[in-house]
Each structure stands twice: as C-alpha cells, then as structure tokens.
C-alpha cells in the first residue's frame, strides 16, 4: 500500500508529532505509515483522510501487483 501522507502533511505544514496527536496515535506510527512499513486500520485511515479533507483512496493507494 502506497500513501501520500508525508506530502500532504508537508503541504499543510504539520509536524509528525502534531498529526499523531490529532489522529490519536504515536509519532512512530506516523513515521511507519509514511515509510509504507505499516498499513493503518480503516478507522485510522478515515481519521487521517478526514483531517486532510480527502477521500481515503486519494491518500492510500492500493497496489495489487506490489501486494502479490
């Protein structure tokens, strides 16, 4: 799963710490999501999408080829 969290966050000029606090997770989780190491739950994905005022599919891109 690829995502645009890092670019959207930088666009909005929000720190990882602040984003983590807003969506209710640790900074390490935001780092892992941005690096593509961790796929968030649907609840967390919704929270992130809501914060950036975007649809989930605009932020998280499912890549079937990479998944297989």
């Amino acid at each position: 799963m690829e995502n645009n969290v890092e670019s959207l966050r930088k666009e909005k000029k929000v720190s990882q710490e602040d984003l983590a606090s807003i969506v209710g997770v640790s900074r390490q989780t935001i780092i892992s999501i941005e690096k593509g190491k961790y796929n968030p739950s649907i609840t967390l994905a919704f929270k992130i999408a809501k914060y950036f005022d975007k649809k989930i599919e605009d932020i998280f891109i499912y890549n079937e080829e990479k998944d297989n």
């Binding site: 390490q28 989780t29 967390l44």
Partner: protein, 133 residues
C-alpha cells in the same frame, strides 16, 4: 474511565501484593519474603508515581493515552506475544526431549503439564476472542 485512570487503579490494587508480602515477611520473620516484598513494592511504587505524575500533566497524559491506544503498538504487542509463545513452546519441547533422554521423570511431568496448559489456554483464548471480534 480512560486507560490511564484504569492503569493507576489497577497498579494501586496490585500494590497490595507487595504490602502483603512485607507483612508476611515481618510476621513470619522470613527475610527472603520481606526482601521480595520490598523490591516488588519499590518497583510498583515508582510505576505508580510515574502514572500519577503522567495523569497530572495534561500534555503528558495525552501523549501517554496516544501511546497506549496506539494501534501499531497493540499490533506489535500481539505479534510479539505470539512469537514469544511459540518460542516458549519449542523451548519446552526441547527441554522435554532432553528430560526424556536423561530419564528425568519429574521434569518430564512438569514440562508436559506446562505445555498442555499453554496450548489449552491458547485454544480457549483464541475461541473467546474469535467470538468477540
């Protein structure tokens, strides 16, 4: 009640255990029990004070709650628990084979019992959690 308050209450309740050990150690004049009670009490008291201090500062409280509610932390904890469980079961199996080879019957019985309880507990927990979620 949030997780921090629940943790404080739980730790305060658990603090009765070292207190009990200290009383038991003093009454029976048993120094190892008294020492264990003091050691456990000191560790638990430090943890309790840390939690209370965390609860008193709003920013630290929020950070703490974000950390304990963090889904990645819970995911990692679950994964490491299952890996540790598998490791423990295989270690027990290795020691059990050694006990059989060395004809250590008491160790064989204890290890077989522990392994059976472990596997049974895993099955029961899995069944309960699968019904819940």
């Amino acid at each position: 009640m949030n997780k921090l308050k629940a943790n404080i209450l739980w730790n305060a309740l658990l603090f009765l255990l070292p207190v009990g050990l200290i009383i038991l150690g003093v009454v029976t004049n048993n120094e190892p029990v008294l020492g264990l009670g003091i050691l456990m009490g000191a560790i638990m008291l430090i943890k309790l004070i840390r939690l209370i201090l965390c609860w008193m500062k709003p920013k630290t409280r929020e950070k703490y709650l974000n950390r304990v509610n963090d889904e990645r932390v819970n995911y990692i904890a679950g994964k490491s628990a299952i890996v540790s469980y598998i490791f423990m079961e295989f270690s027990s199996l290795a020691i059990l084979i050694y006990a059989i080879a060395m004809e250590l019957s008491t160790l064989q019985t204890i290890l077989s019992g522990i392994m059976c309880i472990g596997l049974f507990a895993y099955m029961i927990t899995y069944f309960i959690l699968s019904k819940k979620e």
